[in-house]
Structure formats: structure tokens, C-alpha cells
């Protein structure tokens, strides 16, 4: 144990794996969270390769769960969201709906990308790698002092805030099934909120009218998130 001089006096305990101060447990080893050395050689095109790559990412994202938050509720939202991203989500469809607001009405087949099952899709290796980077950044800590600041620490803070907001939104989605009748299934699987963005159905009953403001909150957030993904090359 030693008294450190990081601003206010505090106790720091150093163990083989970590540094613990009054605020954080700082883990020194990153090997568990980094991609393995043979990752570059893996071929995500073949069925076996695809499973391997998916597993590699899923495991690492899950390992980061304790870093996301200290609160069980947020940690659970994170793992639920991960599971949804890996198994259920049709990101291509979501992206299509954001960028082609009227496209669905023009096409004869209503869901151009929705027909393929998750298992048959090509794994977006680069996007997943970028997303991994994003989550790692949001869980990271840099020892800044008054004289020593790094630009990347500001960027990491942005990552952390975005992840936090994303999980809050996701929690609202899971929760609002009970309170408002609109929830995860309608928003994350059917993407109803993104479909009705431009052309509101003309005849609305009372229940549908109540949904409009709820759809707007989620569609603004999801649209901006897809735009962010597009500009960073991530898949949040």
C-alpha cells in the first residue's frame, strides 16, 4: 500500500494483475480482451471460419461486461444487447430503412434483405473489429495529471458516454413493452419506428396515435446511431 499524490490523497493497492485506487480497479493485462494473433489468417467466408470468428468476437465482448458498469442492471442490458446483436438483429435491414425511407414502398418485395437468415450472412469482420475498438476505448483508463493530458482520453470519454446512452436507450426499449406496449420486439426486430418515419399511415386508431411520440424518440436515436456507425465503420 502506498499513498499516491494524484490530486487528492488516496490509497493505492497494487496486486499482480491490477492497480486499485479509491475510484477504480485498473486491470493491467489486456491479453484476454485483444484479438488472438492468428485472427488475421482466419477466413470468415467459410462456414467454420464464420463460426470461429463470431465466437472470438462474442467471447471478447462478453469478457468486457464487468468493465461496462458496476450496476447489475446495466451489465445485464449490455449482455442482452450483445446477444441480440449476434443472434437476432438484421442490421442490413435497419441500415436500409434509415437510408431509403421510401424504398420499401417502391419495391415489390417488402423486405429486400430480410429474407436471409442470420446464419447465412457474411460476418462483417472489419466493422466488428472497429466496434471492439470502440468498446475497449470506452472501458479504458489513462492516468492523466494536470500537466499531462492526452487527446485520446477525451475521445474515450465520448465513447463511454455514447455507450452509456445506447444502453440506457436499450433499457427503455426492453422496459417499455410493459408500460407502453411498444418495445424490443416491435423496435428491434420489426423496426416499426423506422418504417413509419416518412409516410405516416393515414388511418390511425387511438392506440397507434399514442405510439407516434415513442417511435419518434427511438427513431431519432437509432437513425443517428446508424449515421454514426456509417461514419466510423462500427456496428454499434
Amino acid at each position: 500500500m502506498s499513498n499516491s499524490t494524484m490530486g487528492k490523497p488516496s490509497v493505492t493497492i497494487t496486486t499482480a494483475k491490477a492497480i486499485i485506487n479509491s475510484e477504480y480497479t485498473l486491470i493491467k493485462s489486456h491479453s484476454k480482451y485483444k484479438l488472438p494473433a492468428h485472427f488475421e489468417k482466419l477466413d470468415a467466408g467459410s462456414p467454420e471460419g464464420r463460426t470461429t470468428v463470431a465466437k472470438i468476437f462474442y467471447r471478447r465482448f462478453m469478457r468486457l461486461k464487468p468493465f461496462v458498469s458496476n450496476m447489475r442492471m446495466i451489465r445485464n442490458t449490455y449482455s442482452d444487447y450483445l446477444r441480440y446483436k449476434f443472434t437476432k438483429e438484421d442490421y442490413e435491414l435497419k441500415r436500409y430503412l434509415v437510408f431509403n425511407p421510401n424504398g420499401l414502398q417502391l419495391k415489390t418485395s417488402p423486405e429486400p434483405m430480410g429474407n436471409t437468415k442470420c446464419g447465412e450472412k457474411v460476418i462483417p469482420k472489419e466493422e466488428m473489429q472497429k466496434t471492439m475498438e470502440f468498446i475497449l476505448k470506452s472501458c479504458s483508463y489513462l492516468p492523466e495529471t494536470k500537466d499531462q493530458k492526452w487527446d485520446i482520453a477525451r475521445d474515450n470519454t465520448f465513447c463511454r458516454q455514447i455507450l452509456k446512452n445506447l444502453l440506457t436507450m436499450q433499457y427503455e426499449k426492453y422496459r417499455s413493452v410493459l408500460n407502453r406496449g411498444v418495445g424490443h420486439d416491435e423496435l428491434d426486430v420489426k423496426f416499426s419506428h423506422l418504417r413509419t418515419k416518412f409516410s405516416p399511415p393515414t388511418k390511425l386508431n387511438k392506440g397507434d396515435k399514442k405510439k407516434i411520440p415513442i417511435f419518434k424518440v427511438f427513431s431519432d436515436f437509432d437513425t443517428t446511431l446508424v449515421h454514426l456507425n456509417e461514419s466510423l465503420g462500427t456496428r454499434l
Binding site: A16, N102, W150, I152, F198
Partner: protein, 275 residues
């Protein structure tokens, strides 16, 4: 004590004959895991430790996303606030902030009246609440507008009268927003498009896609993001003449670094005009 030695001998601790030195070294080896693995039950927030920027960027390849200059990143990173119409939480920058202002007028009861009005940017000195950034939804819900006052006002003294001017509520905001955009746009000097992250403004009412995001290769081979905002959905003729005044150029280029505020307002304005 009346016990035979053979009975209590078993209870005695076996002390090594060689002396104290040996027992001390063993003692150090057997430090409790409570100490050696303290990270497991420290109960502090866990974080990944990086010594410095170099360890992070070079050894671990974690790059800088430059989110500070990314309009979407900035919007999504803003703190969460409760929204009054849907009763959900959303990012502050995705909502319209409302401020409470005391009424001024000749009316003798004016002192007791409070007015609620939308503002362009969140500002501290006012008590604020937030509503959805959508023209049509706000219009549909204007009848319940007095419930949009901040909770502290609603629960405060009942003698104060709360007023929302439904006729000008939306139009005032709309005019403010448009004036701001036009005045800022007219200040912008037409410079060559920068080869960093940028936004291209176009005006095309025939196109239905309001926002596009592209990756463009710059002069040095560096990739950067170009967002295209189609302001045709705003139906503002003043904007059309500004953007399309030069027949050769495609539109107006904004720099993600320097025109952060304007880009944010434009994005919000597009979302406002959509449903």
C-alpha cells in the same frame, strides 16, 4: 489441569525445530488471496489500464475516432434528459429545450404569469424541460402544452399562472431556427472542400433521402467521411437560392471541425421537419 500429557499433546501446534527464520519465509508465501487478488473484491469500477497514449494507440491499436468533431457522436454523447410528451429519456441534443420566462406586459397580473417557449440551445440560467424535436408531434400535442413546464414549476406555488402561447409556439421556434441557419450560412466563405471530415449541403426536392454518409478518398489517399445533407425537405426557398446559386458547384461544403454548431442545427432542423 488433571489431564494426561498424551491427551493434550495432540492439540499443541507443531513448531519447527530449526527456528524462527524458516517460519517467516513460509508466512510470506502464504499471503491471503484477499490481498493478492484484491481486484476481485475491491468493488470499484473496473477499467482497462493503459500507461499512456503511446501504449494505447501504438501497441494496442486503439485509434482516435475524433468524435468531438463528429456531429452524430456529439449528439449521441449528450446527457440523457426526460422528454415531456413520450415520457421517455433521450439525448439532450436530440430534443428541443424549453425555457421558462416571466411574462412582461402592462397587465397587472403579469408578474404572476410564466411563459414557456422553445429555445435553440440549452442554456443554464433558465429552468428547462425538453420536448420531442418534431414539428408535427409538437403540433398535435399543443393542447397539453402546460404540462410541459419543468416539474419544479408545476409543483410550485399554485398562484402563478402558466401560459403557453399555442399560436406562436411552433412558428417562433421555426423562424428562429431558420434565421439562424441562413445567417450562419451567409457568413461562410466559399472555400474549397477540405480533405477532412466534412458535410456537403445540397438542395434537391426531388430526392427523398435527407442524409447520406459516404467515405471519400482525399488527395493524400486518406479516407474521410462526407455527409450529404439534402435540405430540400425543409422547403426553404431562401436556402435553395443560396445553395444552388453556383451552377457549377454541387453545393456548399462545411468543415466538420469549424462549423460544428451549424452542422448540429442543420441536422436537428432536418429531424424537426421529418415526422
Amino acid at each position: 489441569m488433571g489431564l494426561t500429557e498424551s491427551l493434550y499433546k495432540k492439540l499443541l501446534i507443531n513448531v519447527p525445530t530449526k527456528g524462527v527464520e524458516v517460519s517467516r519465509s513460509r508466512h510470506i508465501k502464504d499471503v491471503s488471496p484477499v490481498v493478492t487478488h484484491f481486484e476481485k473484491w475491491s468493488d470499484k469500477r473496473k477499467k482497462l489500464y493503459f500507461k499512456d497514449e503511446k501504449e494505447m494507440m501504438e501497441e494496442n491499436h486503439l485509434g482516435n475516432f475524433d468524435l468531438e468533431n463528429n456531429v452524430y457522436g456529439r449528439l449521441l454523447a449528450s446527457p440523457m434528459r426526460a422528454e415531456k410528451i413520450s415520457k421517455l429519456k433521450s439525448c439532450r441534443e436530440l430534443l428541443i429545450p424549453l425555457k421558462v420566462i416571466p411574462m412582461v406586459g402592462n397587465d397587472q397580473h403579469a408578474e404572476n404569469k410564466l411563459k414557456l417557449a422553445p429555445i435553440l440551445d440549452y442554456s443554464k440560467p433558465y429552468k428547462s424541460s425538453y420536448i420531442l424535436n418534431s414539428a408535427s408531434i409538437v403540433r398535435d400535442n399543443l393542447a397539453a402544452a402546460t404540462s410541459w413546464f419543468p416539474l419544479s414549476i408545476l409543483q410550485g406555488s399554485p398562484s402563478r399562472k402558466l401560459v403557453v402561447d399555442a399560436t406562436t409556439f411552433l412558428s417562433e421556434y421555426n423562424v428562429q431556427l431558420r434565421e439562424l441557419i441562413i445567417s450562419r450560412l451567409s457568413e461562410i466563405k466559399s472555400v474549397e472542400p477540405s480533405s477532412k471530415d466534412r458535410v456537403l449541403l445540397i438542395y434537391d426536392e426531388t430526392k427523398t433521402i435527407p442524409i447520406e454518409v459516404q467515405h471519400v478518398k482525399g488527395a493524400g489517399g486518406l479516407k474521410f467521411t462526407q455527409s450529404i445533407f439534402n435540405l430540400g425537405c425543409l422547403r426553404m426557398l431562401a436556402l435553395e437560392s443560396m445553395i444552388n446559386k453556383d451552377a457549377i458547384k454541387e453545393g456548399i461544403y462545411l468543415d466538420a471541425n469549424n462549423d460544428k454548431d451549424l452542422i448540429k442545427h442543420l441536422y436537428r432542423c432536418i429531424l424537426f421537419s421529418l415526422r
